[in-house]
Amino acid sequence: MALSEFLEGMRGEMRELVSALKPYYKYVSVLATDCKSSAYRADKATSSVLDGAGFEGECGFVVRVHDGKAFGEYSASSIAGDKQALAKKIVREISLNEAKNAIECPVPQDPVRKASYVRESDFDSFSDDEVLSFLKNLKDEILKKDEKILNAIVILRPIVINKLFVSVNRELDQHYGWVNGIMVAVYRDGRIAEGWESAYGNQMKDVLATMPTLVDKLVDKVRHVANATPIEPGVYDIITDNSITGLIAHEAFGHGVEMDQFVKNRALAKEYVGKYVASPIVNMHDGAAAAFSTASYFFDDDGIEAHDTQIIKDGILVAGISDVASASQLGTAPTGNGRRENYTRKAYTRMTNTFFEPGKDKLEDMIKSVKHGYMLFETNNGMEDPKNWQIQCTAEYGIEIVDGKLTDHYVSPVVMSGFVPELLKSITMVSDNFEVIGAGSCGKGYKEWVRVSDGGPCLKARCKLS
């Protein structure tokens, strides 16, 4: 399959609209989206299958203009009809000439470029009946494992992205898919605990093959977490699993190098470019082309093709990531990180696949090196604070390490807090294993959700836990 039939059919109308707006502005582009988002779900008592699930399902248009000073945008479900009349309406609605005291930034570059990108998935090879039956059987398998499991919830979330970008000089289109499989077990042993496992990829057959292999791990985990105790607050040696490493990369540091925050003077990182922000054994990347995962698009919502941006090199902050608007204001080249929640929303600088590079240490040696501390597992949530670089990241659970050995003592939940560079500079070991976890999504502030991945190796560091 290539670009969706609907978008292919809109190509001419989008060109017409760009032409109709060109006399009014120095830069014009139109992004069209036709993204299918489905959800299959089975739990103890119900099942469902639907289209248009979550924030990913969308179909519409967003026009972006620049008048030589600032930006204007118009989002619409349809651009049908007389394009000259629509152009006049857009000019009237966004009234850039009334935006007194506007910024003055250069007109975005619009080099001649035409490209079509397709990454095939196998979603159409599986019938609804096959998928739902698979989920129901998997749910039954989890429930059978232990009578203390109150509920098992199994979800499959395929999305198919179709986007077409048309400007005066460019036409880019892309078609690709991604599927997340999620299993949740709710367990009661005195108190209730919830645990989850995920599988992901761009081929459904791979995800369906992986999910059953995670059942025993899921059940073992909820049994332990149900009996976990609160952690004694304090500063500890920690070892992070791939997920918590990703949480640190994304939440503690990544938001701080989103360069729209540089423009707003909202990021301390702006003052640290070229300086040590982490231990010299730390290297970090972000980019749709940096790893193959859920955010591996071919071009972003500004029409900039995918990049691999090295953010930290040998402990030194070398670069941030940017969308077109922030790059234009900063006088830098955009890095392909302009993303919208959907066509109704503004584009911001957003992370994509964010991770630390693997190192040379063996995980078992890292554990052996800890006299007393915790290995932390699985992202619960995290809040960014790019201005002040304070961390608040929550792990689902931790396992106590005593005299270099993992014990059977689980603690949950575990909140990591502190000052980001202190944490990153405390990293003394980096494992040689590596995983980027592709089942996540992220907001900016308290809104603007997009799918992201993050991860990396295991890290040994020192951090305040509570």
């Binding site: 639907l50 009334e98 608007a325 201005k387």
Partner: protein, 425 residues
């Protein structure tokens, strides 16, 4: 546009639901006090759910979106796919909501005003805030939105709700030659009151100056006063455990009759799920199923006394359709006995997000700014985290005896909740 309902009605013989959402907005984005982007949106989306009575007595359903771009043929293809999918779903049956035709406009003085003009006035009101030396608003986003929700069911129900609101995301910042600090402000109202906006932002400017001057807090055990924002997060987490859905799925931490304040020595906690609070951005007359919303006290004097939630899960656990509350979006907390906060305590002014985990008996989070009160002495502190056992702070909490309404958080109730003996690190 063709008649979606006519086509759906002709094919979905066992029942259907059509939910239309349309929205018009005017948006302004500022960087360093200057306009960076002017936006306007005009969007609509329809979601259709079809129901199938399966031969085994179960009910199947499936939902699909109808986009403005779809033609009649595309709708029929999507409809037939959904009808086939619904036959694969075998859920316990429930009755769709009954009702007639109704149009509700939620109270707002924004009706009839030009969204573009309102956005400009709001921007001026924000920048009119009192700026102390070193203060600025580094980033500002303003959204003026009118949205329409229409729910149509095969039972004949046809309800429309129109809401208008202003949303503001502002980043008050304080800078001197040594450092720059900021706070995050999300402010949502359903009516335009420029003086209120200026006052709110002025308060935040003073708070961010305090954060700038704050000293690093020290580890200790101390009473902590929460603001409406955090009180809402706490009580919302508690009442989520009392939803029909949680009960049906057997994942509820609380049952009706449970005492959430076992051994209480503090103020009794009484919480009502509500359809509307003044200025509440989630205030509504009916939910996405068309259920007319009914307020419900779910926690009375610390005891769980009732459940709440959607029609489907209400019916699943035996609630009569006419007694179902619907999916309520606001909360009311009864005021307590505390005349005023005094003595030695920490008053939260900005948290990065309070974490409440009923399963793990935990409440905590990073405090970005708090005021340490020691009698008449008040010291701004920062760089600390709080944590406590939920089972220990609920029985001993104190509530102020005032009542405030915070539409941005869909909350009404006391202005402060005092948690006793919280650990600070």
């Amino acid at each position: 546009m063709f008649d979606v309902e006519k086509i759906v009605k002709a094919n979905a013989k066992d029942g259907y639901k059509i939910v239309d959402k349309a929205s018009v907005s005017h948006e302004l984005f500022f960087v360093g006090g200057k306009t960076e982007t002017v936006r306007a949106t005009e969007t609509e989306e329809t979601k259709v759910t079809v129901y199938v009575n399966n031969e085994d007595g179960t009910l199947g359903d499936s939902t699909f979106p109808v986009y403005a771009s779809m033609d009649e043929n595309a709708l029929k293809v999507a409809l037939n796919k959904a009808l086939s999918r619904a036959k694969l779903v075998h859920n316990k049956p429930y009755a769709l909501v009954e009702g007639g035709k109704e149009v509700v406009e939620l109270p707002s003085n924004l009706k009839g005003l030009d969204g573009k003009d309102v956005a400009k006035q709001v921007a001026k009101a924000v920048f009119d805030a009192e700026m102390v030396k070193g203060g600025s608003i580094n980033a500002l986003e303003i959204f003026v939105t009118e949205s329409k929700l229409r729910v149509r069911l095969s039972t004949g129900l046809d309800k429309t709700q129109i809401k208008r609101k202003i949303s503001i995301e502002a980043i008050p910042t304080h800078t001197d030659e040594k450092e720059s600090v900021e706070l995050y402000e999300w402010y949502e109202v359903t009516s335009l009151n420029l003086e209120d906006i200026t006052r709110e932002i002025s308060e935040k400017m003073r708070a961010v100056k305090d954060r700038h001057e704050a000293v690093k807090g020290t580890p200790q055990t101390i009473d902590v006063a929460l603001r409406p924002e955090e009180i809402m997060s706490l009580v919302e987490t508690l009442t989520d455990e009392l939803s029909y859905g949680a009960k049906y799925m057997e994942s509820n931490a609380y049952e009706v009759g449970d005492n959430l304040q076992e051994g209480r020595t503090g103020d009794p906690l009484t919480i009502a799920e509500k359809a509307q609070v003044e200025g509440g951005s989630d205030s509504a007359a009916f939910d996405a199923d068309g259920t007319a919303l009914k307020d419900r006290v779910v926690v009375k004097d610390g005891k769980a006394v009732a459940l709440w939630g959607t029609s489907r899960y209400g019916q699943y656990i035996g609630v009569k359709p006419e007694d179902v509350t619907g999916d309520l979006g606001c909360l009311s907390v009864e005021s307590g006995s505390l005349e005023k906060l005094d003595g030695r305590y920490l008053e939260c002014a900005s948290m990065s997000g309070i974490q409440v985990d009923v399963y793990n008996d935990y409440i905590g989070g990073e405090i970005r700014l708090a005021y340490l009160h020691e009698g008449d002495k008040v010291t701004p502190v920062t760089g600390i985290s709080m944590s406590a056992k939920l089972s220990e702070v609920l029985p001993t909490l104190r509530l102020t005896n005032d009542k405030v309404v915070r539409g941005a958080f869909n909350y009404e109730g006391p202005s402060r909740m005092l948690l006793k003996n919280v650990q600070i690190v």
